[in-house]
Amino acid sequence: MKSLSYIDVFTPRSLEEALELLDKHRGELAVLAGGTDLIIQLRKAQQKAPNLLNIYMLDELRYIKHDNEIIKIGALTDFATITESPIIQRHAPVLAEAAATIGSVQILNKASIGGNIVNASPAADSLPALYVLNATLTLRSKTGTRKVAIEQFYKGYKKLDLQSGELLTEVSFPAMKQNQIGMFFKHGLRQGDAISVVNGAILLEVLNGYVKDARIALGAVAPTVVRATESEKTLIGQRLSEDVILKAAQACLTSISPIDDVRGSAAYRKEMCVNYLYMTLWQMMRMVNL
């Protein structure tokens, strides 16, 4: 364990002050939100830990709004709130489902959606859901505001399109439509409080029994969360059948590049990915064809 005693912690009282501090100490501060990932990483880090900007007090970044068919979530909103939110349950159930699986009650109460996004773990459970919801991230700095599509935000393993001086303040996405259904899946090695071996989310838009649009995102099988574009193509324009969903599930292999690690081998991850996609699509097929 590394000593963290030399770290300075800045605790701003407002978003403006936070952006001011980020600007003043460009590139020198790590942002502390719920701390459920960051503190552990700092304790284990090989290099010297940076000073911290503690934004946990900034209640202005805690909200869930339904605004003109757009859902907006403040970056500090914790996962317990997201899971229980009627707005999320109604307009983005796939995210409510994903958020509930992130960890134990203690973690759900402390960890924030912004932290999950910026920590950029390929196994982060909220990310596949945000990918299929076509989420947009709002990044603020002292000088302005920038919006980035979540898929553009990740440039590689833990490489982000985030400038020094910028702070993630909001996640937004269109509310799901009547003819859209979404499902999240997660494979962990035990039944409770597990870190994902493979996870993913599927969102289908169905018109007259045909798939009009399909979005599939997979986690823990590549350096970043990835869209399974070949699988999506296989589904679009088709009626869901066992044959179609099997082809779609197998097509995901072209999009993923898993590695061996403490939770499973690459081969096992590939197999789980195909199997889970098939199983989830099968359930969705039943819902659609009912």
């Binding site: 590394k2 000593s3 030399y6 494979h187 090695l189 039944q191 409770g192 403490v262």
Partner: protein
């Protein structure tokens, strides 16, 4: 006199643990541990660490005032490593600082030059001539079981089955990591408060390391937040000696408290095992021969490995009558983390092998696995695998019947991908071949009429101290709330042996029983002599005698005559017997094994405290399910421990456990006064094998290595399907 902490103290969050009483201004001690599994230490430079503000001392092997050597059974481990490191847990230097932060910083500044040596990690390879030498000889012990002639046995067998089994390193993972707080007293003595399972063993070790006579040290046992074996061996010696050494060197109170990762690396683990079995039987299911080679990896140091090996080898043929037996077991040094005590103590490994073999055999014979087992199961008077007559009185028929009925054994329609599995178990009580087993207790009635029970047996959640209260209260005829169990301090309580081997209620309980009985008889004589007939025992002491009366008693079990060199003799006088049945559902696609139902029947002799008893059995079963499905300390390609944390080391959550139905049978042992059998460990022995057997029943795949991970299941299914296609 302080009493032992209760469950009530624990649930209301009372400050009863060692860390709770460490004042903020106490010094902190931290250890620098080895970077390599096997290396020579060329140089240790602590000068930069000493410059760190807040650092009072940096101590290395040279600063150890007593003997820099420890070992529960074999003195093979330096307290602080010098010349050579043999595993990643080896401490090389200690930093004493004003707080944890300063200590952490100083640790980073210590420079160690290593000359890396080739390591060896596999216990079978470590026995090869050319293998790197961890110690002078990598073979630490070779123990045997011998009965009849196995060659003849196999010749007379109609069916012979063979298999190799491998089991993992399991971590005991108690909630509270190891901790000690040492206070130098004005009279030159040292008081050490700690999370200490076996205080008198720790006293021996600490006194040797610190070069202080035993009477200059008082070890005070604080509440213990679980152990499961992790605090049974040398980890508490280390924290007590580390804190004690710092207190001696500085003259100030000092605390040594392990972090989670340090705890998971430094304390004792379950021995990983490689077990090669061959069993022969007649077509009607009589066991003719059992032949096995068993390798236990004890890691870099012996710890209590030799005792674990004794228990493993003497349980290696299961609770069955086999005409001819040859078992050779090898305890081997490697550069892995040290294995030693862990709940079950060598027994879960061999149970996994034997109980898997019984199902493999039953399958070959086309026989019901329960029927095959009952046909060969122990009964009073049979000759066991160590060629000795069993004096105890097991009744597996009753246990199996209860479990089969409750589980619905192979009745009705089988659901797809569901399976049932069963395993028998027998767990030798007390120390048996591990040493002479003697316990002692003092029971006294103070002048205010309170009954005190004093032993050195510690309470770590098993409820043993509640059992003592019940036993003393019933013998003396007083309400339980008049009886207190005194806090364990080595200066104040008698040495009752260690709180291990599930022996508290069996050994300590009988000693308490004898002491209380003696006390009652003595006071009753006094009552009669003084003409106060009609007064009760406590009332007489309080109102008439008005002074403390105390009695001491010892309880001893006869020494068992099993000889590990010849492989013959009685290893244990009595056992706890059990049958565990499980129903699983396996997800073919994901490889996930879900345990749907567990039914377990145990013969516990006599129930002393039913609530705690079933809690112990359920807890053992839960840890046994985890051994079967989840828990494994993983070693990476560079041989670092990958998961010394509770995020990736998978202890079971409530969601992983089904309903557990425990059935308790009271069939008193004919061999001890109370007739009780032990209950702390037996629950852990059989679940892994029962699960493996159920997985076979569900999918016809045989998993021979633990834990049964989804990945192994998927791989085995693929292989079996490939074979099916090929055929």
């Amino acid at each position: 006199m302080k009493r032992v902490y209760t469950a009530y103290d624990a649930v209301r969050g009372a400050p009863i643990y060692t860390e709770d009483i460490v004042p903020e201004n106490a010094l902190r001690v931290k250890a620098l541990r080895s970077e390599h599994s096997h290396a020579l230490i060329k140089r240790v430079d602590v000068s930069a660490a000493l410059e760190v503000p807040g650092v009072l001392a940096v101590l290395t092997a040279r600063d150890v005032p007593g003997e820099n050597i420890t070992g529960a059974v074999v003195l093979d481990r330096p307290f602080l490593a010098y010349e050579k490191v043999r595993c990643l847990a080896d401490p090389i230097a200690l930093v004493v600082a004003v707080d944890e932060e300063a200590a952490d910083k100083a640790i980073e500044k210590i420079v160690v030059d290593y000359e890396v040596l080739e390591p060896v990690y596999d216990p079978v390879k470590a026995l090869e001539e050319s293998a790197p030498k961890v110690h002078e000889n990598n073979l630490l012990r070779h123990y045997k079981l011998r009965k009849g002639d196995v060659t003849r046995g196999f010749n007379e067998s109609d069916i012979i089955v063979e298999e190799e089994f491998r089991t993992q390193m399991q971590d005991p993972a108690p909630l509270e990591p190891e901790a000690a707080y040492a206070v130098p007293e004005k009279d030159g003595t040292l008081t050490i408060y700690g999370s200490i399972q076996n205080p008198f063993y720790v006293l021996t070790g600490v006194s040797r390391i610190l070069g202080l006579p035993r009477d200059k040290i008082n070890l005070v046992v604080m509440a213990i937040g679980g152990t499961f074996g992790g605090k049974s061996d040398e980890a508490p010696w280390d924290v007590c000696a580390m804190a004690g050494l710092a207190a001696l060197k500085t003259g100030k109170p000092a605390a040594c408290i392990y972090g989670r990762d340090e705890s998971m690396i430094a304390h004792s683990h379950r021995h990983p095992a490689v077990m090669r079995y061959k069993v022969g039987a007649t077509t009607d299911g009589r066991l003719k021969a059992l032949d096995a080679d068993i390798y236990f990896d004890t890691g870099a140091y012996a710890s209590v490995g030799p005792l674990v090996m004794l228990r493993a080898v003497t349980h290696a043929a299961g609770p069955y009558v086999v005409e001819n037996v040859r078992v050779d077991s090898y305890l081997v040094y490697t550069n892995n983390l040290t294995a030693g005590s862990m709940r079950g103590f060598g027994s879960p490994q061999v149970h996994f092998a034997v109980e898997s073999m019984m199902d493999i055999l039953a399958d070959k014979l086309g026989m019901d696995p329960v029927e095959l087992r009952l046909k060969n199961a122990w009964r009073q008077g049979v000759v066991t695998a160590s060629d000795a007559v069993l004096m105890d009185n097991p009744d597996f028929g009753v246990l199996a019947e209860k479990v089969c009925e409750e589980l619905g054994w192979r009745r009705g329609e089988k659901h797809p991908d569901e399976g049932v599995g069963i395993a028998f178990m027998a767990h030798g009580n007390s120390l048996g071949p591990e040493g002479e087993d003697k316990s002692s207790a003092t029971v006294r009635i103070s002048s205010d009429g309170t009954v005190h029970v004093a032993t050195s047996l510690t309470e770590y959640g098993t409820g043993a101290s509640r059992g003592f209260v019940k036993i003393a209260a019933s013998v003396l005829g007083v309400p339980e709330d008049r009886v207190v169990v005194d806090r364990v301090e080595t200066q104040k309580v008698p040495d009752s042996g260690g709180t291990f081997a599930s022996r508290s209620t069996l050994m300590g309980g009988n000693a308490v029983y004898l002491a209380a009985k003696r006390l009652r008889e003595r006071i009753e004589r006094l009552i009669e002599e003084s003409g106060h007939k009609g007064l009760d025992v406590v009332g007489f002491v309080r109102d008439v005698l008005r002074e403390e009366v105390s009695e001491y008693a010892e309880f001893k079990l006869p020494v068992c005559d099993y000889n590990p060199e010849t492989g013959k003799g009685t290893p244990y006088l009595q056992y706890t017997y059990g049958v565990v049945g499980v129903r699983v559902k396996v997800d073919r696609e994901l490889g996930v094994v879900r345990v749907k139902d567990i039914v377990a029947a145990f013969d516990v002799g006599r129930v002393v405290n039913e609530g705690y008893l079933t809690a112990q059995l359920e807890g053992g079963i839960t840890q046994g399910v985890a051994y079967g499905l989840l828990e494994e300390l993983l070693i990476g390609k560079k041989h670092k421990v990958l998961n010394p944390n509770l995020a990736d080391y998978l202890v079971p959550t409530a969601a992983d456990m089904p309903r557990v139905k425990v059935i308790v049978i009271e069939n008193p042992s004919p061999l001890t006064p109370l007739g009780t059998r032990t209950a702390g460990e037996p629950g852990i022995d059989a679940p892994a094998a029962a699960i493996a057997n159920a997985v076979y029943d569900a999918l016809k795949i045989r998993i021979t290595s633990l834990p049964i991970t989804p990945e192994k299941v998927v791989a085995a299914l693929e292989k079996s399907e490939a074979i099916a296609v090929f055929v």
